[in-house]
């Protein structure tokens, strides 16, 4: 069973993503801030991370989490989809710079997200 890590500071968003992915055959992991996301990613090595950018209560944001994971040979293989309200071109560019595999802007359609997840996990 493939593991997907959902990283978002808002319980409601994590809940939404979890419900969205429930119909697939995945093991869902959750983190509500950057440091926790890094910890779980390193320990669990999920196949996919759905990563929010702005997360108060943590000293690092989603872009940094992505950058650190992509730099680390141990975790560079993890597919990362940014899932963020930051929808400007400059944000998407930053996403590419830190090595994100895809970029999803909030608000999003759960059906489309499900399609995307299935696509990237093959």
């Amino acid at each position: 069973m493939k593991k997907i890590l959902i990283v978002d500071d808002q319980d409601e968003v994590r809940e939404l993503v979890e419900v969205t992915l429930r119909i697939g055959d995945f093991k869902i992991l959750q983190a509500e801030n950057g440091p926790k996301a890094l910890e779980i990613a390193r320990a669990e090595k999920p196949e996919l991370i759905l990563l929010d950018v702005m997360m108060p209560g943590g000293s690092i944001d989603g872009f940094e989490v992505c950058e650190q994971l992509k730099k680390d040979p141990e975790t560079e293989g993890i597919i990362i989809i940014m899932l963020t309200a930051k929808g400007q071109d400059i944000d998407k560019q930053r996403g590419r710079e830190v090595g994100a595999d895809d970029y999803f802007t909030k608000p999003f359609s759960p059906l489309e997200l499900m399609d995307k997840v299935e696509e990237v996990l093959g």
């Binding site: 409601e12 968003v13 969205t20 702005m54 108060p56 690092i60 608000p107 999003f108 359609s109 759960p110």
Partner: protein, 584 residues
Amino acid sequence: MKENHLLISNNVIKDKRLLELKEYFAVTGTKSMLDASAVIEKKLVVIICFERLSIKEWSTEEIAYMRGLSDQFIQIFLRLEESKSQYKLKDSEQKLNRFFDFAPIGIAINQMDGTFSKVNAEFSRITGYTSEELNKLSYWDLTPKEYTKAEEVQIKNIGETKAYGPYEKEYIRKNGKRIPVLLRGIIIQSGGEDFIWSVVEDITEIKKYRNNLETIVQERTEELNIALEDAENARDNIDAILKSIADGLIVTDIQNRVVLMNRVAEDLLKIKLSEVINRSIYYAIKDKTLRNLIKNTFDKIDTESQFDFKLAGKDLNQSKILRVRASIIKDKKGNNNGIIIIIQDISQEREIDKMKTEFISTAAHELRTPLTSIQGFSEILLTRDDISDQEKKKFLGHINNQATNLAQIINDLLDISRIESGSGYILEKEPCLIGEAIKSVVEPIITQTKIHKFEVVVHKKPVEIIVDKEKMAQVLENLISNAVKYSPDGGKIQIKGEIIKENYQVSIQDEGVGMTREQVEKIFDKFYRADTTNTAIEGTGLGMSIVKNIVEAHDGKVWVESEIGKGTKVTFIIPLDQNVEQLM
């Protein structure tokens, strides 16, 4: 001197004195001759001549007779001369008198004691006295008292120089009125006695004319002074206007030399007008890039030209964005007279533009968050059949909550646009138990965070103030959620409500990241977020601006104390005074 010279010749032919008359004697046959020449003042007046045709000695009687005859002639001549000269004198005296009387200037002859001895018609006209009346008066009688001293000076002059004047004084006329006169005089001896001859001019008209002239001169001088003052004021005004202009201003002449520069320009370019006046503008501008830009502009300028320029400062915060506008100054004939350069510091406008752009993206982001739940959960509910009734209810709750949030965000945005347009707030004031209000705002926030410890300190006895309840809740919510947001590592958040003097004071203190002094200064600016680099913190940057506006709409005050790394304390006060009155 008068004398008779006798020539006695008894025989003219032999007389050597008469050789010259030989021919004459031959014709007349004269043999002896007796001559008498009458001489007055060495001048020969008459010659009487007796001649005889025979040679005979002139008798004593004859000689005496001749002398007598000659004497008589002398007497006749002397009398004739006398009467002739008497006639001459009388004639000149008459002329003088006529001149005296008809002279268009007053003439008076006074004795040395001042008594009038003779005056002319014009003098009578001037003084109003007849000459007979004047003969009984002295010039002292016509002299006003205040001229006594001046008069004495003139008299002293007469004593020394035998003359006086020109000297201006007044006469008291017969009718008591005064008349201005100009006098000048000399001493003339007559019959062994000294007299003062004075010419007296009536200067009433001259004085009137002179006074008019003086008035006119005075008026013109005054007008000129006023005009001068006006011109000076106008120049001062222009100077003041130029100096008070918020933009930098430089004026150059046709040779690009600095003619004028105001304070702002001095400050922006860090030079003093006194150092660069009449020197080339290129000398005045130290920054190479700006100098070249201005040079290019000047070279190409047609009528007006403009460019923006970033002037580097000591550090990034001090660098400025300047908008430089150059226009040609044309005189009435359309000739170029120089160039006026206006330098506008548009750093702030740029900063606001930047803040607005940031605001739009933040606002968009703020809207995306609640929309995520609304779109996501509604789509789930619409498309999925694996959702339990319990879940359905929960998701609908999320949707509803987020719709409410969305409405709140929109209200914030509207508040700000209202504040910005200047229409302000319309408060709906009502009594509010402030302690309860604080608690009801804090409670839902407490449930949202686990890392913060809340401490709410309010009066045990309920305190009622008159406020717009909803707006007050908005203020408290903003401040408390800021305290949570800006203390991401948790810590104590203390909320205190108390009566201090005539105000109700609320303070919210956190142990969060704190702010620098510069950040504190800008905290109430619209769109300002203390730390935009920290993307982990959400917010529209409108909260504090809204807080300030609401508090001030209640005649209150809000201020911030903060120390970086230690935390922030926001305090606001609402005056109790009016509230108490309104309660009664």
